[in-house]
Each structure stands twice: as C-alpha cells, then as structure tokens.
Subunit: 202 residues, 4 copies
C-alpha cells in the first residue's frame, strides 16, 4: 500500500483482531512512517484502545475507529488507506446532503463483485462520507451510528482523510482496499473526462 | 500486471492452452487475489469449462470466454486485464451504436505495430465493446458471434469490466495486453486534453 | 524518491547535518544522476558550501540553500525533490502576488498532521513560492529572508523547479517530502477536476 | 524504462556506439519485448544497418535512424522511448507548421539544465516533431536533414511514435530520456489544467 502511494508519510493504519473475547487488536503504532514499518511497530490494544500485552507504546490515534468496526461488523481485519483519489472524492464540496448521509454511490462496475457477498456488477454500493474530526471519541460514535444505519456498506470515507474498509480476514480486507481504491480512481478520472460531477445522496 | 494495477483484487484471469485435441486450458482459479497468485491457483479445464486433471477447485467464472477464444482464434494463451483506462473507455455512454457493434476505433499510432500481423501505424484496429453480463453461457455465445463478425480483431472489451486479448503464445498475448493498455491510456488522456470524445461505430 | 519520479535525471539534492559547530553537511555531489547515486557521491561541505573532509568533488550547485535552511531552521536534514506536480503548482502564472509573498495555501487536509507540530486538519499551511534563479548567492539570501518572514513554514517551492523541506532528522524530512508531494498531487488533480484555480496570496 | 511504462510491448529501441571507425553499433534486435530483454537480444550492426559480428538476427527496424544520429551528433548512445505523454504531445493536431518545422518549444523549467550544455532554466529548447513513416530510408534522410537544420536540438519526436535522444555516453543519453519524459509529462498535465494548448512553430 505504501508503494502504491496509499499510505505515504505516517498516513494509514492497520489492525487485525487477535482475540474476540476479550476483544484484542494488533494495530500499527501512532506516528509510524509506513515506508519503514517493522514488527516492533505493531501493538496490542483492548476494546477501549488501551495498550495491553508485552510491547509498550502509543497505538494509532484512530484505534477507537478500528475497535468500533471490529465490534459492529465482527471484522477480522480493519484497514485504513489515505490515497489521493479517496482524499479528492471525499472532499468534493457538494457532498454534504442536508437531509441524510453524504456519500458516494457506485454501481455498474464489474469490480464491485470483489466486495464480500456481491454477485453482480448491477449491485449498488453506498459509501458513506463522514466529516473529519480530531475528537476520536465523538468520531468513533458517529462511525458506530453510520455502520448501524448502513448495514450493507463495505466501507466509509472520512472527508479529505481517506478510506476505511474491513473483512473477515486480512486478505478479505486487503482485497476490499484494492477494489475500492480502483473504483475511486476510475470515478475520479471519469469526472475529469466528462467535466461533470454527479453528487448522489444517501 | 498486478504491479501495474491491471489486475487488482480478484480481477483479471489468465489461461494457456496445454492441449489442442482434446482442448485443455491451464487457467487461474476463481476468486484468487492476483497479488497472491501461486502455482496451486492454476487449474486445468476442458472445453466445457469443467475442471479436469489432478487439482480440484473452481476455475475462473469466465472460463467459457477463454474456451470460446481459444477455439475460434486458435489462441495459445488468453489474457484478461481489468485496468482503470479500459474500464473507463468501455463505459463511455455514447458507445452503443444502434445499427451495429459498439466499439473503439484506434488508428494512427505506431504502437499498433505490436499487434500480430500489423505492419504500419496506418492500420485501423476495431476493438468491439460488449455489454457486461453475469450469464456466462449467454456472454460466451455473444463473444463467439463477435469474434466471427470481426475476424481481424485482436481483442474486445467488456463494458466497465475490462480487456480480453490473446496470442499464439503467452508472450504474444502479454505483448498485446501491454500494447492495448498503452493505447487505452493514451486515448483516455487525450480525451481529457481535448475535452471531446469521438465515438466511432463499427 | 527516484522510483516515484521525484528526482529524475540529475534533479533533486539531499543533505544531512553531521556537525553543528562548526556546521558541516553531508550533501549529494553536483550533477549526479539520482538513479545511480552511491556513497561516493556524498561530499562534506562547510557553512560556505566549500568541500571539506576526505572526499574531493563539487557539491550540489544548491548547497548554499541547504546551508541557509540548516542554519535558520536548525534542521538535521534538508531534502529537495523535483516532481511533476510541484513543478506545475509552483509555475502557475497567477501566483506572483504584487504586494507580498507568492505561495500556496493548503488547509483542510488530514495529511497536514504529518508536518512537525501540526495537530489538526484545520491547520493552514503557507508554502512560499520563490522565483527560480541561477545566482545562488542571491537566491540563498532570498531563501533566508523568506524563512525569517514565514517562521511557521515547513517548506518552500522554487518556481518550476521543485520543493525544499527539512526536519530535525532525516526521517522527519523524508516524511515531510511524502506529505507535501501527496498534497501537491491532490491539489493539482483537484484543479483539473473543478476546472478552476484558486490563487492565494501570502 | 520498461518499468516506467516508456517501452511497453516491443516498443523502444536502444543502441551504443562500440566503434567509431568503422562505425559499429550494439543495438536491440527487432520485435523484442522490452520486458524480457536479455544480452542475446543485442546485435552488432554497421553504418548501413546490416548485422555484423558473431550474433545473427534482425536489428531494430529503426536502426538507420540510430546510425544517422550516431554519425551526425557523434553520439555514443542513442535511446528511443515510446511513452504515453510523448505519443500525445507529438500527435497534437495543430503541430504541423506550414512554413517550417513542427515542434515543441520548452523553456522556463529548471529541469532543462540536465540537457548537455544547458546552464539556465531560461534556455529555450526546440524539440522537432517529424511525421511518422514506415519507409526507414526516407525517414532516416529526414532525420538527418532535421539534425542539420536544428544543430542545438538534443532530441526529436516522431509523431504518435515517441522520443529519440542521445548523448556522449549511455549515462548521458539516459539522463536526457528522464529529463525529456519529465518535461513532456509536465507540459501535458499543464495543458489539461489550463485547458489550452499553445502550438509553437520552429
């Protein structure tokens, strides 16, 4: 993901569920350059985002979002990338819908079939876009609400911040990242071609 | 192809003819992430797309398209990539021609000389675009018809799905992939520059 | 940086402070192809940009800029890349502000938090743009003035030439490069989408 | 060059002068996929483009262009790449100047200093654009005439075909490729931003 430019600098963070009861996540430490990530930069945290286990350190600032997703989706892995295209699409001005959830609608692409449970390109995927926030408790609560309101969503975007997706296994979550980043690039480039931006509402 | 972003997630599938009579293809298994492809993910199938040989498994959902191409073009290898540019070009709204086959016309590019039998940039290549379909029996039949109607075509596109091309050998098919993906990117970027889309009819 | 296309040909130059008193920099030699950089191409220079130490040679033509930054920012490393997007953004015609410093304003992006001391995406970063100049004594003086006038700036651009940034350590400076190049690409692509260029003044 | 997408398929060809009197070039064989290039694909040819030396084979179809450049510029290496951006820029419709040589003018970029003998970004580089032609004897003659008419040119473009540049050494020629491909990408992307194409005449 670093090589593709989806996790430059210290951006992006990644977790895997190592125990369900009690909930334990292996997660990347805070402020680690993803181009220099090593095993020592992976910490274990509990369901409140506190570090547990042998290794000390500060887990990713966004640990509470990972916990929220792991709990509500029973995900085995949660991945957050920070690509140019997801930053651009999530930041488009018109995307805040007054009466409802802002987001992207994606349909008609064969690539959608790589999302868990999707069997046809005629599938309509809604990717919620949440406003970015530095208050992680508040943002985690909004993430939780969004996941409940959109039970079929495979991912969400933080505005001008990037993509969160997940899967039953790490491989499933990786596949979702590749598929969604592909779709964002395709949609972004198509907008540049047609010179018109369609802004769907959830 | 994975590194170039032409086979992200589980997209793309690849086959080589290992026997002509009876027809036998070595083909990538269904739902394999192309970034993690290993020898164990290559299955052998017969002319009806059924797995034969030592290794069990489910061959690519699009196996019948590979069989159709291998038979009608006497190809030694069939490759399907799923790039951003082929997805975009195949999906342009105006491309359904009422009286005939939708498609792209490509001419005037030196790169065309990399296609089998082409000796000048003045060559006019027609790349048919077929509507995407999850019914593989029906889609294979339409692929067969299209190949017969356009005997000079080196490739076709599935709408918002990607590229199919082939060659006498795997190396020939790989060269066709690189050349066509180059041309799609060039045509797509040129459209963005000139702000106008020419929609040829077959 | 070479692989990402940020230091093609002989473009780009890089230094690390190896001694503070007296000031000594390890810096890339002049006219070295960055794709073929080896340890022998790193020279040691003093605070006037003259080569000192064991290895003879000609240090980067822009050594005085590195010295100026190392002194005024107390930086441990200074990195200069030369990407397509920084060349484009720095060269936009309208960017010379008659009454003040030309530059780019970047705000609202989560990625800004990778800059030293920045804790929120609501941060407003001003990246000064200086006219390019082959007179390095004069340009170093203007760089020094600009650094004094914009004490919060993490970087500056030379017009149609590229990016200078720095950090307390080499890793910090590398992170700044990745973050700023990401932001330049994002802003450049966004301009292409919206078809409008906002030209902020310092 | 293959990895950067500048020599996909069988496109591109490369030579080095191994003897000046008589003139002998080591040159890539015809129709070799550049992603699979090996030492056995390098042939030796004379000043008429005929294979000489131990290894038999067919040298690049464009061998006569290499010979012409090696002779008239006394180049030690000649490189031809075939990138998306050089294909696009060389193909812009308005570029045929009725009274003179078609071409691109590039000036104001620091990157120009990587061209042999150029010492300032204020340098004005003219890159002639020649119509593509499959008649290599005729095209070689026109290349020779163009080199004489533009003695300061470091390169030329074949329309919708790609870039030729050269240098005293292979390293010099490689640097020229990287610098010119960078400039073509920068100019092409800038056109997409400003939505206007300036068409200079030689």
């Amino acid at each position: 993901m670093y090589e593709r430019g989806w996790a430059l600098g210290t951006s992006g963070n990644f977790s895997v569920v190592v125990s369900r009861r009690p909930l334990r996540l292996a997660i990347t430490a805070s402020s680690v350059a993803k181009g220099a990530l090593s095993a020592a930069d992976i910490l274990e945290c509990d369901e409140r985002g506190r570090v547990v286990g042998r290794r000390a350190g500060k887990p990713s600032a966004e640990t509470l979002l990972h916990v929220e997703i792991a709990r509500r989706r029973r995900a085995g892995a949660v991945l957050h990338t920070h690509s140019v295209w997801s930053t651009m699409l999530s930041g488009q001005a018109g995307q805040v819908a007054p009466a409802g959830q802002a987001g992207l609608v994606i349909e008609g692409y064969e690539m959608l079939k790589g999302l868990d449970g999707v069997t046809s390109h005629e599938h309509r995927e809604f990717v919620p876009v949440l406003d970015n926030d530095q208050d992680m408790t508040r943002l985690a609560r909004r993430v939780g609400e969004t996941l409940e309101q959109h039970p079929d969503a495979h991912a969400f975007l933080l505005r001008r911040h990037g993509l969160y997706t997940w899967g039953a296994t790490l491989a499933d979550a990786e596949r979702h990242i590749e598929i969604l980043e592909f779709l964002f690039e395709t949609i972004g480039r198509t907008q540049a071609l047609v010179g018109a931006v369609a802004v769907p509402r959830g």
